[in-house]
Symmetry: C2
């Protein structure tokens, strides 16, 4: 099931297929820089719709054109497959925006 | 001008008219809790449009239905009238959403 905590080894293994993301203090983290706030918040809006659709929401911070994303699965007290599903989606959305 | 740093006394004075906000580590801060993520991100979208319109953007963090907002004016290295303008707008938007 998606709702089981992955081991550190499993996480490190899966991270190899997810460039830009890293494990930091129990969170799957990645930072993004866009051209400006319009582009950054446009990206956040796309991520928000997917987060709601997946019923899995990021811990994220935005300062102007920068966004720091941290993912974990509260229910399991760690990182689950769901975090990787959302992380992959976030990377895809960013790739379609960042030139 | 809006782009001058306010003194701590001026800030404390203006904060009296702005319930819920406080000065913390050089930022004008307030936290909000909404019913769920849909409501929280809907609020963020409204704030984003106003931030862009005012050309003044928050440092903010969102975790599910919670949002922590921190405002300051980088150009002047402190809090300016612009932060109070945005803070007031944010309070108005929240008041129209929080029941």
């Amino acid at each position: 099931m998606a709702r089981a905590a992955l081991s550190t080894e499993e996480i490190r293994d899966k991270l190899r297929a997810l460039p830009g993301w890293e494990l930091r203090e129990g969170y799957l983290c990645r930072s993004f820089e866009f051209r400006d706030f319009v582009e950054a918040f446009g990206f956040m809006s796309q991520v928000a719709l997917w987060a709601e659709k997946l019923n899995h929401h990021p811990d994220w911070r935005n300062v102007y054109r920068r966004i720091d994303v941290a993912l974990s699965t509260h229910d399991v007290g760690g990182i689950s497959d769901l975090d990787f599903t959302l992380a992959r989606k976030i990377s895809d959305l960013a790739a379609s925006l960042i030139r």
